[in-house]
């Protein structure tokens, strides 16, 4: 990807340009928060509308919300197990919904129409900070899940089934967040870049199938992230015999 700004020095493609906001001594990426707030706002609006007047015979948005709830429950239950999935369902569901809304929002909303002084608006998940934040939250969660469910016996997991596994299991604790964050980041950023490059090269027809592919990838990535997060938590709370 490093060659991109040089192949298209005149393109409107900006990789790695950020809109900085200064808060005290810290700098944050303004465009990431702007899009994430908008998308979270849309998500919360949908949730508020759908749960405003819930009935036993669901109508309208309530159907959609119940479908999502059911989907997330199945996901959490199959990966984490019947015993503790209830505790982790909101976290898994939030990961799924946030990533899904971010990915689709980045792909569907024509952010390019809004000009920023620096950087450009896009999917919040195309920023490495977001994906690493999510991945680290998953790491903390599965440690917390393991320790709170099994206490110090959680560390038996590292020598299960044999102590030979110990170094691999320790390495896994680092590769898990790394792979989670980079998978999501790479997929979403690559999707945005492919669409942008194609739109730049062939502005007609050709980008459309790639855009659909992008929507597909976006949904799949949200599902993969949530499923893996649930799987890691399930692995941590699983009882070995």
């Amino acid at each position: 990807m490093g060659f991109l700004p040089f192949v298209f020095p005149f393109a409107e493609l900006e990789v790695g340009q950020q809109l900085y906001w200064q808060i005290g001594n810290f700098r944050i990426h303004g465009q990431v928060f702007m899009t994430s707030w908008l998308l979270i706002g849309a998500l919360l609006a949908l949730v508020v509308i759908g749960t405003k007047k819930m009935e036993r015979d669901p109508r309208g948005v309530q159907n959609l919300l119940e479908f999502l709830w059911d989907y997330i429950r199945d996901l959490a239950r199959t990966q984490i197990g019947e015993k503790v999935y209830r505790d982790w369902m909101p976290f898994i569901g939030t990961l799924f919904l946030f990533i899904f809304v971010s990915n689709w929002g980045g792909a569907l909303v024509p952010w390019k129409l809004i000009k920023l002084p620096s950087g450009e608006l896009g999917a919040p998940t195309a920023d490495i900070n977001t994906t690493v934040a999510l991945a680290l939250l998953v790491s903390l969660s599965y440690f917390y899940a393991g320790l709170s469910n099994k206490g110090l016996r959680y560390f038996e997991y590292y020598v299960h089934p044999t102590p030979i596994m110990l170094p691999f299991k320790i390495v896994e604790d680092f590769t898990k967040p790394l792979s989670l964050s980079f998978r999501l980041f790479g997929n979403i950023l690559a999707d945005e870049l492919v669409v942008a490059v194609l739109v730049f090269l062939v502005p007609l027809v050709l980008p459309v199938p790639v855009m659909f592919l992008g929507l597909f990838t976006s949904a799949i990535q949200a599902l993969i992230f949530a499923t893996l997060a649930a799987y890691y938590i399930g692995e941590a709370v699983e009882e070995h015999h």
């Binding site: 490093g2 790695g16 990426h29 919360l44 749960t51 036993r56 119940e66 909101p90 946030f98 900070n129």
Partner: protein, 153 residues
């Protein structure tokens, strides 16, 4: 310098880590709590209430079906008994009527026999009488003929 530009040695780049990371983490944690309160809890309550409702309704329906089946078998038994009784009654009635018929027939036959016998006896006696009368008349006539023949001579 493309590598510097992309990997964010000083300014910008794809791997530009800064306070966005912890802030985003806090934001997602907050979102988790908000969604738990606004989405997961209320929707879960509604869905689970409905599941309970469906389950209890189904259990009740099953119980009712079992009751109905029980009643059905009872009624079938009753019906069977009633049918058997009816058959018995019909059989008895048939037998009674047959008996009555037989009795009536026997009575009628005996009466008929009796009256026939009587009639025969009457006929016999009358015939005997008639024969006697004839005989006596014939005798008288014979006597008369003989007298007359004798008188002519």
């Amino acid at each position: 310098m493309p590598t510097l530009f992309l990997f964010g040695a000083s300014e910008g780049g794809l791997f530009d880590f800064d306070a966005t990371l912890p802030l985003m983490a806090v934001q997602v944690v907050l979102l988790t709590f908000i969604l738990n309160a606004l989405f997961f809890k209320p929707v879960g309550r509604v869905v689970e209430e409905r599941e309970d409702y469906v389950n209890t309704s189904r259990a009740e329906a099953k119980k009712k079906i079992a009751e109905v089946e029980l009643l059905e078998t009872e009624l079938k038994d009753q019906l069977k008994e009633a049918r058997l009784e009816a058959q018995k009654v019909i059989l008895e009635a048939e037998q009674d009527s047959e008996n009555l018929y037989k009795e009536a027939l026997a009575l009628a036959t005996s009466e008929a026999n009796a009256s026939r016998e009587k009639a025969r006896r009457e006929i016999d006696s009358q015939r005997d009488e008639a024969l006697n009368q004839l005989k006596s008349e014939a005798d008288n006539l014979g006597d008369l003929i003989i007298e007359r023949l004798l008188a002519k001579k």
